[in-house]
Symmetry: D2
Subunit: 337 residues, 4 copies
C-alpha cells in the first residue's frame, strides 16, 4: 500500500484524493496540506488515518509519506518538487512542472544531481485510450512514416480569467506534450496564425492556429477554439506517407431522431479524460510500488513543454515564427517519451 501525501486540496487535489481513496488500488492518502489549513482539515476529516500538515515541506518530511502529489498553485510547484527530490521521495507534480523555464531547469538539474528519476509531471493525455491507440497505429507502420498531424482543441467556453496567452499556456500545452510523446521528437520552432475572431470570446482572440515544427521535419497544426459552444472536442489526425490515423469518436451510443443520426459529444473535459486521470495515477502508483522509476512524463518533459510554451507565447505576441532552444538533454532522460 503506497502512502501518498497530497499538497493542495483545491479542486484537482480533492479529485486526486477521491481517486486514490475510492477508485484506485494499492494506495492510501496518509497526509494532506493546503495553504488554507481549514480546507485541508475538512478533507482529512473524511479520511480515517490521514494527517494534516502545516506546510508542504513538513508533509514531505513525514516518514508516513512514501510519495508526494503536488496539486497546489503553479508558482509553488518548484519549491515542493525540489524538496521532494532533496528528500529522495517520488513526486507527482500536476502541470505545469514550474511556471518559468529557469525553475524547470533547476528541477531537472536537481534530479540529475540526485541521480535517479523521482519526478512525474501531470500530462494525462498520454494515458488516454484513444491517444494510446493512435500511437500504437502510428508505431505499427500501417500509415508509414508520420509527416504531419492536424489537431483541434475545442472548449465550449472558458472562464473570465482566461487570457490571450492562456490559449498556449493552458490549452495548447497539452498538445505540446502530446506531440513530443507521439512523435518521439522535440519541437524546434512554433508559429501562431490568427483567424477571423469569434464573437463568442468577446475581446479574446479566438480561435488561434498554432503550428509546431518537430526535429525530424514533421509539421503539426493545432486549431485552438475555446468558445465554440457545441462541446469539448479533442481531435487529432496523423498524416503518414501511406495513410492517416485519427482519434475516433468514442461514441458509446448513436441516436436517430428528428432527422439526424447523432453521436453525443462531451461537454466537459472531465467526461473526456476522466479515465485518463485514473490510468495516469494508477500507473504512477504501480511503477513506484515496483521500485520506480516513474514511467510517465519526466522533469525533462515538463521543462521542454515550458520552453515550447514560452516560444508559443512569444510567437503569439510577435506574429513571428520562433525557434525553440533547449539545453542539452541529460543522459537521465534518454528518450522523449
Amino acid at each position: 500500500m503506497l502512502k501518498v501525501g497530497v499538497i493542495g486540496t483545491g479542486m484537482i487535489g480533492r479529485d486526486h484524493i477521491r481517486r486514490m481513496t475510492r477508485v484506485l488500488a494499492g494506495v492510501a492518502v496518509t497526509a494532506v496540506t493546503d495553504v488554507d489549513v481549514e480546507a485541508a482539515k475538512n478533507v482529512a476529516d473524511r479520511l480515517p488515518g490521514t494527517v494534516v500538515h502545516g506546510s508542504g515541506e513538513e508533509l514531505i518530511a513525514d516518514p508516513g509519506v512514501d510519495a508526494v502529489a503536488i496539486c497546489s498553485w503553479g508558482p509553488t510547484h518548484e519549491q515542493y518538487v525540489l524538496a521532494a527530490i532533496a528528500a529522495g521521495k517520488q513526486v507527482f507534480c500536476e502541470k505545469p512542472l514550474a511556471t518559468t523555464e529557469e525553475a524547470c531547469r533547476r528541477i531537472v538539474q536537481a534530479e540529475v544531481a540526485h541521480g535517479r528519476r523521482l519526478v512525474q509531471v501531470g500530462y494525462m493525455r498520454r494515458y488516454d485510450a484513444a491517444y494510446r491507440a493512435l500511437k500504437a497505429v502510428v508505431s505499427s507502420g500501417t500509415i508509414g512514416t508520420p509527416l504531419m498531424m492536424h489537431c483541434a482543441h475545442r472548449n465550449p467556453s472558458v472562464p473570465a480569467y482566461y487570457e490571450k496567452e492562456s490559449a498556449i499556456t493552458d490549452t495548447a500545452v497539452h498538445e505540446i506534450d502530446m506531440v513530443r510523446w507521439l512523435f518521439g521528437e522535440e519541437v524546434t520552432a512554433v508559429q501562431v496564425l490568427v483567424p477571423k475572431k469569434s464573437r463568442n470570446g468577446d475581446t479574446l482572440q479566438d480561435p488561434l492556429f498554432f503550428l509546431l515544427e518537430l526535429a525530424g521535419g514533421a509539421l503539426i497544426d493545432v486549431e485552438i477554439s475555446v468558445n465554440i459552444r457545441y462541446g469539448y472536442d479533442i481531435r487529432g489526425e496523423v498524416i503518414g506517407e501511406n495513410g492517416t490515423a485519427a482519434l475516433g469518436d468514442l461514441s458509446p451510443v448513436t441516436v436517430r431522431s428528428d432527422g439526424t443520426l447523432a453521436v453525443p459529444i462531451p461537454t466537459d473535459w472531465r467526461q473526456r479524460f476522466l479515465q485518463a486521470y485514473d490510468v495516469e495515477i494508477q500507473e504512477w502508483i504501480d511503477s513506484i510500488a515496483a521500485g520506480g522509476p516513474p514511467l510517465g512524463p519526466s522533469a525533462w518533459d515538463g521543462y521542454a513543454a515550458a520552453v515550447v510554451s514560452d516560444a508559443g507565447v512569444t510567437a503569439l505576441r510577435t506574429g513571428q515564427r520562433v525557434e525553440v532552444s533547449l539545453m542539452p538533454r541529460p543522459a537521465l532522460y534518454e528518450v522523449v517519451s
Copy 2:
C-alpha cells in the same frame, strides 16, 4: 477496506482477484479456496495476508471474510450462495446463479426468508458504458416508448465444448438479462429461428435467431453468430416510437489505409467488456461498504434468466414458440432492474 473471500481460483476467479488487489479501491482479498487446493495456494502465495481454506463453507464461516465472491463451477453455486445467505454475508455469484430453475428458486426463497438482499449475480453488461448510455437515452424519452430491439451477439469462434444449446445458455443469456434490465420488463415468450448454417461451425447450428417477447409487448430479436471470424461484436439498437438508439462503435481510433477508412473491432470479449467487470465489482464493493443492499442483478434476476434460458432451450429443441412462466415476484425484488 472490505474483506472478500473468493471461492474458485480458475480463470474468472483469478481475474477477479487481480481486479480486487490491483485495480479497485476499498477491498482486500483475505481468503481463497478451490476444489484444487494447490491452485488456491499458488494464488494465495502471491497475496500477503490471504488465507487458504479447505472448502467454500469454511471460507464463508471465516470471521475475516466480510463478503464472498463465488467463481467456482456452476453446479456448486447453489450450495455456496445458500451458505452465504445462512451466514448473513453478502455474496457476489458469477453467472449462472445456479444451474436449474429449482435451485434458483431455492436461493430466492432463502433470501426472502432471510429478509434482506445479500445476493448479486454476475451479469456485467449492466455495467458497460455503452449499454448504460443506451439505457439513459431510452429513459430520456428521446426516441419515445421502446417497441423493439435488434441485437447481435457475434463471436469469432467458440471452443470445441460449445454445444448447440450453449448459444442460449452461455451466449444469449447475456441478452436475456440485458433486455430485462433495459426495458424493465419480464420476458413472456421466446422462439428460435434457424437460418442457413455457417460452415465455420462445422456440425454446430450457427447462426441462430432468438426472439423474445416482453410483458409490455416489445419484441426483441437476437442474432447469435458464434463463428463469424471477423471479431467479437456486440450490437444493439432499440426501436422507439419516434426514433432509435444504438450501441456506438466505441472506436478509439480510425485508420485510412489501403483504400478503406477502418475502425478496429475487438477480437475478444475481454477487450470489449474489461471495464464493465471493473465497474461491476467496484460498485458491488461500494454498495456493500455503504451497508448494502447490492444494487446489481439480484437473485430474482438470476432466477428469471434461468427460466427464460430454459424456455429458450426448449424453443430451440422444438422449433416452437415457448411461453415463460415465472413464480410471483416477492416484494423483496420490487423492480426488474
Copy 3:
C-alpha cells in the same frame, strides 16, 4: 432517340416524364394518355411534339411510340402490359406488375408465348448505388456465404389511406424484390410478428417484423416502421459466414453542434431514391435502344413479388408461417436477377 409513350400522368407519370425530358439522354416522350384526358393534355402542352391519346391501347398502337411506360392505377396494369406484349413493344410497368397473382401469371404466360422479354417492372432498389455496392461486396466473397439479412424500412409517417396490409403490399414489397435480387434466390416461406404498437400509427398495427426464408436457407428479417417520425431510413445488413456488409449512411455532410456530431437523414423517399429512379430509366432506355432485352426486374420478378406479397398478407392475417408456392419458372427467366 427512343420514342416513349406514357400511360398515366399522375404523380409518378409526371415524374418519369420530367426525367425522360429533362434529365436523361437518348429518349423523347412522344405520346401520353390518362384516364383524365385533361390532365394528359396539360402535360402534353408543355412538351413540344407530344401527342395525347384517348386510351392506353391507342397509345400502344401509335407507330410513333417505340416503347411504353405504364404509370397508371395498379388495376389497369395487366391490360396495358398485355396490350404492349401483343403489339411486340417494350414496356416499363411501374410496380406492381398487376394486382393479383393470376394477372401476373397471365402476363408471364403471354410474354413466354411471345418468346422474348418485353416487360420490365419498376422495382428501383436494384438501381440504388448503395444496394449495388452491397451486392458487389456480397458477390466478392469478402464476407463469405450470406446466411441472414437484417433490414429496416422506416417512414416518418404514412397517409390516411394506408391500411394494415399496406405494410406488406406497399412497403415491404420493395424488400421482397430486393432480397430475391441480392441473394439470387426465391422466397419459400414468410411470417409476420407483431411488436408493441406505436401510438403514432393510431389504430394501425405498426411496427411489424416480417420474416422471409429463402430457397437456400437464408433468413431475412425486416422491421417495418411506418410512423417513426425521425426520417425516411432504409437499412440493410447482410450476415455472412465471415463478416457482414451493410448499407452505408451516405452522408454528404456531418455537423458538430449543440453537443452532437450529426449526420442528416432523409425525410422522404424521393431524397433517398431519386438517383435510383434516374439510373433505372436510363438503363432501361439504353438496353432497349441496344435492341433489348431489358436488364431489369422481369415479369417473373413481378409475379414472384406478387405471390410473396400475398403470402405475407396471409401471414399477417393469420399469425402463421405461410409457405410460398411459385409455378415452375419458364426458361425465358433463367436467373432471379
Copy 4:
C-alpha cells in the same frame, strides 16, 4: 435541344462528349474539332450528324453550333474563349480559364465589353453534392459565422510530369475556387509551409501545407498530399463560431471483416467527382437553354483563381507569405459565387 460544339477531343473532351450524348438531357454535340484532325474524325464517326471542323475558330463560327465547350490544351483556351465572346456564343471552358493572369484579364475585359456573361469555367466542385450540402449547412447559420476551414486534398499518386508547382496550379487550384465560392469572399494572402517529405514522391516535395487568408479574415488550411497511396480523399471541415460542418464519408456500404469495420474510399477522382461533372454540364445546358446567363464559375472566378494560384507558386518558391492583388471587380460579376 442545345447544339454544342466541342473543341478538343482528348480525354476530358471525349468524356464531356460521352456525357452530352449518353447521359444528359436537352443537348446534342453537333460539331467537334481537335489539333489532331484524325482524332476528331474518329470521335465524330461514332456520332450521327456531328460535323468535324478544321479549327476552333471555324467551329465557333458554325451556325449549327449554339454553344461551345473548350477542352483543348490550356495555352489555347484564351484564343477560343475570346473568339466565342466575339461571336456572342456561350462558352464552357475547362479549367484553367487561361494560363496567365494577363490572359484571364483580357477575357474578363472582353466579356465586360460584350456586356453580358457568356463564359463559364470548369470548376466542378461547386456541383458536388457533398460540397453543396456543406455550403447549405454553413449558410443556414447552424454553426455560426465561419472562421476557419481545414481541407485535405489527397491523391494516391501523381504522374511523372507532375512538378513541384503542380501542387498549387493543378491540385490546390480546386480548393482555391471552392473556398471563394463557399465563403463568398476573395483570397487576400497565401503562404506555403513545407512538412517532412514523403519518400513516395521521390524528389518531389510532398506533402505541402497551403494557407489562404480570406477578405473577411477567415483562415483556410489545405493539406496537399499527392502520393499518399491509400486513396483519393477530399476532405473539408468549416469551423464556425458555434460548431463545425464537414464533408461526409459518402459511404454506400460498410463492411465488417478481418477485425475492422471498413468504409471504402475512392481510389480515383473519377469515382469521387463523376456525378459533379454530370451536374455541372447539365446545369450549364439548362441555364443556357433558358436564355442564360450561365450560373456557374465566371470569367472573374477563372481570373481570381489564376491570380491566387500565381501567388501560391510565388509563396512556394520564396517561403514567404504573399499578398494577393486583384483588379477591381467589374459590375458584371457582382458576387463571388
